[in-house]
């Protein structure tokens, strides 16, 4: 396979396969959750499930003060790399071009140097997160192979994207192809790993808030 053939494969069939797995995988996973249902609560309510649930979706973004003190690194680093990923994925001009091809509309991009810098910060933060996972006793104890795998497939698109943008090492089409391939890897693994939290966190927070809200507690 030549360099260009490789690029057109990852852009064509490769991308289609990844998209199908990504979309169907997520739908299946969400169905697996919803179809389980839950029993109606027969206890007399002391508050609203709906407002408790909706509230928790947002309130969990702001940890209370004791948690903030005890988990400072996790919270700050978590914020940085999540926002970083958002900027790099959705506010980089070439990415917006790509999305608008698929969904038919576009939005404003951030200046490229800003995105470039963001990607570097995000990579550094992810590296720190990895180090924390290896060093911290609780994290070390909790960590399974999947955690490293997920870290890797999140990191690779950033790295390959950075290399492709700066044309380091390989000819441009190969770099671009590798970048797209790494994204496809992320998409394929997404439904089968904890990456699913990007969708299910909304459900979890809602359920948590609803369970508490029913009893009149804001969680």
């Amino acid at each position: 396979m030549t360099e260009l053939e490789f690029l057109s494969w990852v852009r064509g069939p490769g991308f289609q396969i990844a998209t199908v797995i990504f979309v169907f995988g997520i739908i299946v996973r969400l169905l697996e959750i919803f179809l389980l249902g839950r029993k109606a609560n027969l206890a007399e309510a002391n508050g609203s499930e709906m407002s408790g649930g909706m509230r928790a979706i947002f309130s969990r973004m702001a940890p209370e003060s004791d948690t903030m003190k005890r988990s400072m690194f996790t919270i700050v680093a978590g914020y940085i790399f999540h926002i970083g990923l958002f900027i790099v994925i959705f506010l980089f001009a070439p990415h917006i071009l790509f999305f608008s091809d698929v969904i038919g509309f576009s939005w404003g991009a951030l200046p490229t140097p800003v995105v470039d810098m963001t990607s570097v910060i995000t990579m550094i933060t992810l590296a720190a997160v990895l180090l924390h996972r290896i060093k911290d006793p609780v994290m070390k104890y909790l960590t399974k192979t999947q955690d490293y795998l997920v870290w890797l497939v999140t990191f690779l698109p950033l790295l390959t994207g950075y290399l492709a943008f700066h044309r380091v090492g390989l000819p441009a089409p190969s770099l671009l192809a590798l970048h797209i391939l790494s994204v496809e890897l992320l998409m394929v693994l997404f439904p089968f790993t904890k990456l699913m939290h990007a969708f299910t966190f909304v459900l979890s927070r809602w359920y948590n808030g609803a369970i508490s809200g029913y009893k009149g507690v804001r969680s």
Binding site: I33, L36, R38, L42, E44, I75, F201, Y207, K215
Partner: protein, 420 residues
Amino acid sequence: MSTKLEQAVHALKEQIDAPVASFLSSCVHCGMCAQACLFHTETGDPKYTPILKVEPLRRVWQQEYTFWGRMKKMFGLAKPITDEFLAEWEELVYDSCTMCGRCSMVCPVGNDITYMIRKTREGMAVSGHVPDGLVGATTRAVTIGSPMGVKFVALEAQIRHVEKDYGYKVPVDVEGADYLCMLSSMEIMNFPEYIGAIAKIFDHADVSWTLSSKAFEATNSGIQIGVSDIAAELVQRIVSEAERLKVKCVISPECGHAYTAIRWEGPNLAGKKFGFKVRHILEVLDELRQEGRLKTEGMKDNRLTYHDPCQIGRRGGVLEQPRNLINMVASDFVEMPDAGKMNWCCGAGGGVSTNERADEIRLKSFQRKKEQLEAVQAETLVSACSNCRIHIEDGLEAYHMDIPVISLTETLAEHLVDKE
């Protein structure tokens, strides 16, 4: 697989619902829940990380309810659920968790871990891997009617004492009373003053109330151990008595887990909505306060703080009432750091206090409460759970601290003005 193990797996499977599946799908292994749990913060041992305590439930969920997990199981790649594995988890699920709910408040993806630990216990109980202390308490609750083996004759004797000491009648089995007052064995045996306090307050406020000779125990060992059938039977005893005596409301005593048992789990265990209300004693007292039916005099002027029992506050929703009541009788009321819905557990709830094997870690984890108390230099600690109270007294003694621990209901009773 032995039948018992199969049944345990089945029991765990039965517990899995949409919230559990979404929680387990969401966990990112960030470790923040560990920082919320006193069993981890006070020991530093990572094995006490809350989310790890639900590992038996997680494995069943993964192997039974996820596509990937089922594939792995088919090819023999899934981690098996063995008897040894469950045996190893017994200590984590029972000794080092009070079901306090604090971890559920901090998880960034919103996991209600406590909800899952409660469910994990259902499977553990079926597997037979449960602490002896809890088995004993549960057996006594079923056969005798009280986890401490307290029979009605013992309560009767206490009632006679109380009537003599306080000079108020303690009504028993009065049909048509408004309130059916429940007790915990711990109150009957260790703090009968609570019964005296109730008699005094209800006389003062002209409340029609009664005890029941057939159902006086409010705590529910079935929930602690994780056997819903037993829990349902214990709840049903209260329901039957409430219906027989035609009361409007059942009052949960100064006990946290009893409140969760009858107020929040009760109707779901019994499988029907109750025809009567269930309120915690603090809720009833605060209603009386609002109606102007509590007249107090004098104030405690030493530095007093309030320990929120987890099941009454964070897991129960009774957070403002105790504060309203304390302000009636204390002039120097201070809040500990993290007070209210983020309060730290005393370390003895959820069956831990009935499990002698957990004594060491129970006292170790008390350091958290110690630090909270020291932060405000409390001179008196008031609370509303006799289980918290006994354990806190124990902890204070172990750490050579001299702080009296008092009941809010009793304190209020002391400050009532005499009726003309």
